[in-house]
Amino acid sequence: MSALSFDQVSIQLGGRTILASVSFAVENGEFIGMLGANGAGKTTLMRAALGLVPLKGGAISVLSRPTSRGNGAIGYMPQARGNLPGLRRLTGYDIVASAAGGAGWGLPRLDAAMRREIDWALEAVDARDLARRSLGELSGGERQRLLLSQALLGRPRLLLLDEPLISLDPGHQKSVVEIVRRLREELKIAIIFSAHELNPLIHAIDRVLYLGAGNAVLGAVDEVITGPVLSRLYGTDIEVVRINDRVFVMAGDVDVERDAHRHDEEGGHHHAGGQHDHDGAHV
């Protein structure tokens, strides 16, 4: 039984083709790194798996069942954005707790079982102490850990993590990847982890899912991160350079992944482009 399978899935948003007849299957307990240029559809793919994006064709199933909105089997951590005053000021605990039972109606109430569940999720990412502080007081890495615990509420079998490493320094990147890897081992859940760069993930992941030009290729790092495959996905000549354990994806003399990442940190053009397909999904 696969944790997530795409069967000939096509998605169009605002007249633009994001995915064109894409098929792949992620097995239970697998740790998948998802890569691709900005706008390649990483966020859209996750939102489609969550049942939030209408499909133009094909079918998506989660744990062998057709996906549906509000699927409890999937844990999701959206890309961090926005700086609402409330989100920065309130304690981490209150923010995590807002997700527990937040899909119901009525006044918020936390019964003993819910408190235990929240404590368990915080414990799983070593965030119990962090939860006493406000989100604004946490470092980027601590903040990601705390939000990660939220994705664990309800004990999902599949975790979708959208760019958890964004704007983190290398030290914090490493600690986030380490925690995710530990979660996979302890909880035996499948994880799809999107990122701009392969290198921080390369030792933790089982396989890589690379998106580009409406296609998606899932396979071992050595099979996917090659000149021919990536040239097809980027639609331009790509050369893969390996130095020791590290992999660099170059178009001409530009490091493709690094470049994309830097733009994002500056909060420049690319990010707005990335958000575009997200906005489109709302309409």
Binding site: G86, R89, L90, S98, A103
Partner: protein, 288 residues
């Protein structure tokens, strides 16, 4: 026992104060109390969601509704509530496109004030009514209006209680809430309609131009005084109540306008909250 005695004595001193000899003052206190509790609570979510501008715009739409109602011989409150409800519903349906929201709301705001001006133009004899709408007239609230305020407040608070869980979730993390099955558009539309009622009530006390003072000021201050969600909601409502009643009291003794005193107190509390009470807060956090 002793505590109860003290409370009784304090309560007696307060209620025996000369201002409570007047019927209109008792009504004003009741009205201001109801409105403050509603505004403080609803306003908290407005601040949490970063939608304060929407609240501001709704109050201006309310002005059109109120002047229009007066033109047709209806009570201003009916026009206020009707129009703001409609506008809140419309804004909710328009959705949350951040980039376009400010301009659209700003245009609606100007259009509404312009229409309100036109209505006033047809009814020039109502200049004092216009001032009351713009800057509030809590001392003019009669018993029937008080009853309407109370009923509307109860209905709004029940509605707010019903959507509280998804509203908090969606306000803090809309994408995650959406993924978990929260109907975002329904929640935000319902919320804006609750805001519409709160704004209408608030306009009765401080006027359409000053609704920020009771809806945003206390909430923003509460969010910097405490990091706990429920404490912040309670504090927001309490601050609004203190500011409204404090303003009434000061107005009674100074003979200056009530709305002025409420804005002064609200401003004072808000700007005090901006001061960095780092050490104080750390100590409070340690004992909590």
């Amino acid at each position: 026992m002793r505590r109860a005695a003290i409370i009784t004595r304090v309560a007696n001193t307060i209620t025996m104060a000369p201002m409570f000899d007047y019927d209109f003052m008792r009504t004003a206190f009741a009205a201001a109390g109801i409105v403050a509790l509603l505004s403080g609570t609803v306003g908290f979510f407005l601040v949490l969601r970063g939608q304060t501008f929407a609240g501001h715009a709704l109050s201006h739409v309310g002005f059109t509704g109120a002047t229009g109602a007066v033109l047709f011989g209806l009570p201003p409150l009916a026009g206020l509530v009707g129009f703001t409800l409609l506008a809140g519903f419309g804004m909710g349906l328009l959705g949350e496109k951040l980039s376009e929201r400010d301009v659209a709301i700003g245009m609606m705001l100007s259009l509404a004030l312009g229409l309100g001006l036109l209505f006033l133009h047809f009814f020039t004899s109502y200049a004092s009514q216009a001032a009351a709408l713009l800057f509030g007239n809590v001392l003019g609230v009669d018993n029937q209006a008080l009853l309407s305020l109370a009923l509307l407040a109860v209905v709004s608070l029940i509605a707010l209680g019903f959507i509280a869980r998804p509203l908090i979730f969606a306000s803090l993390q809309s994408e995650l809430a959406e993924a978990r099955g929260v109907p975002l558009r329904f929640v935000s539309t319902a919320f804006l309609m609750i805001v519409a009622i709160a704004v209408s009530e608030c306009a009765q006390i401080v006027g359409v131009l000053l609704v920020f003072t009771l809806m945003v000021g206390p909430a923003a201050a509460a969010l910097s005084f405490t990091r706990r969600l429920y404490a912040a909601i309670a504090l927001s409502a309490a601050l609004a109540l203190i500011e409204a009643w404090g303003g009434l009291t000061l107005a009674f003794y100074s003979d200056w306008p009530v709305s002025f005193w409420i804005t002064a107190l609200s401003g004072l509390v808000y700007f005090t909250s901006l001061v960095d009470w780092g050490k104080l807060r750390a100590r409070a956090g340690a004992t909590a």
